[in-house]
């Protein structure tokens, strides 16, 4: 029976991204070794994630209430919308401290080969947000993968008729990086998106 419990925990943990079977097994053994309180707290945290956490009605970020902390913050600029792929991107942008507007989480990117089309994302909701409130600028901050690029291009085309400015975050050389190790696509992008001194 012990083996069954261990096997079950390993199997479940191995479903996590970046966790192989061996790592999952190590995690399971570690959970056994740690005090019971830890295991119970972990189980409770996971339960709360699934049962208590909601999605913000406006931006689709994770939230404990109907509106997330960012959308309900009166100090944020509601005329700026930053479109991101998922909620984890918000954390990274917030860490930079450079964006004071609101977000819109698409909950994915277009990928027909994985069965993800516009109806599977929060595209319609973005169009409604832009149409129903005075928005100055929509910034696309999707990952620079080909699916991210295509999603930006798709939404950009749909929003072309609106009065707001459409922009995208710059791509290019990372700060502290070396030009010697820069691939051709990144370098081309850095040149294309250069800015005046």
């Amino acid at each position: 029976m012990t083996i069954d419990y261990l096997e079950r925990a390993t199997e479940l943990l191995a479903k996590m991204p970046g966790v192989g079977r061996k790592s999952a097994q190590r995690m399971a053994f570690r959970i056994i070794a740690l005090p019971s309180e830890y295991a119970l707290e972990l189980a409770e945290a996971i339960r709360a994630l699934k049962e208590e956490l909601k999605v913000c009605e406006q931006c689709f970020n994770f939230s404990a209430s109907t509106l997330c902390g960012i959308c309900s913050d009166a100090k944020r600029d509601p005329r700026l919308i930053c479109v991101v792929e998922d909620a984890s991107s918000i954390k990274n942008i917030e860490r930079s401290g450079r964006f004071r507007g609101l977000y819109h989480v698409l909950q994915g990117v277009l990928s027909p080969m994985h069965g993800v089309g516009p109806d599977d994302l929060r595209c319609r909701e973005l169009l409604l947000r832009v149409a129903s409130a005075p928005i100055d600028e929509v910034i696309f901050a999707l990952n620079p993968t080909l699916e991210g690029e295509a999603t930006s291009a798709y939404l950009g085309e749909l929003l072309k008729g609106s009065s707001c400015t459409l922009s995208r975050i710059a791509t290019g050389i990372p700060v502290g990086g070396s030009l010697d190790y820069c691939d051709e696509i990144t370098m081309a992008s850095a040149i294309d998106h250069r800015r005046n001194f």
Binding site: P112, M113, A150, A153, Y154, D183, E184
Partner: protein, 339 residues
Amino acid sequence: MGSGINWFVGNNGQGKTSVLEAAYALLTSRSFRASTLSEMICHGHPRCQMEGSLERNGDKAWMALHLEQGRTRRRLSGKPCDTLTYVSQAKILAFTRHSVALVEGGPEERRRFLDRVAAHLENQHLANLGRYRRYKQQLQQCLGNGSDLALYQSFKHGWAALSEQLVTRRQAALKSLMPFVLDYFAEWFPDVGALTFQYRTRNVSDLGQYQKRLLSLSARELLQKRMLGGAHLDELEISLGGQDARKVASAGQMRAVAMALVFGARALIHKTTGIAPILVLDDADAELDRTRWSKVMAVAEEAGQTLVSTSEYAIIRGFERGTVFKVDTGTVRLERDGG
């Protein structure tokens, strides 16, 4: 192995081709005769592995390719390695009895050859090919799903830009390659006829409007549910005496053209990058008279490492330099150390 010519001598069916195939697969992660790597696993065995040390400009890298049914593992100096990094380590070209497909095979054979040459000249070409394939899958899925034009075009913009890059690279590679190929061809096969190459883009005549033209095909593509242009549909036309080589060339002439292409590619890559690709010649002496064979091997001897299989000791006798291995029932034994 020796740094110059390495002869693998043995009777038919002793495993000479398998040795060369293993060396080629170790460095390219691809077989020159089987369509998939798993076909290289000996019947009845669960797995096979190839390992070897690659030396270049004083640097050494230990490469290992482990094959199981449906699974390939690549390791570089002991660490797991992605395909792109792995195959970028070595430059290697092969001329085998399958190389005739370069002339008589479908356009994909010639595109693949040109892409390999372009990738040896610039690694980025390989990464672009990977991105292009993924774009193509997305677009083909859109066509299969009957997606709307807006969604289709959103993928097509990036794809068209990438396609133009690939085509530009291929054309540049071909332009640089042609003088070498034509020189070898004229020297080795002067009596065969004029050889010409032409890169043709499908459904695009004005390269100045390349992306615009590809984007303009979208509505028709959605209607017909198939792509009508792009780098994956282009053709490298080979003509002999002004006529399509696929239709008029004899088997010997096709081999001659393929051989000139492979040797031309080696010379170009050597000249451009300063690295002479390793050359694999399997069964290359077939259908070549002694004079031509000597000329071909004289070029092979000029630079870099060459791996040659032959069933005849007589072939080797004219070459005093070079390392000789005897291949007998799957066992390789050093017979002459050529340094």
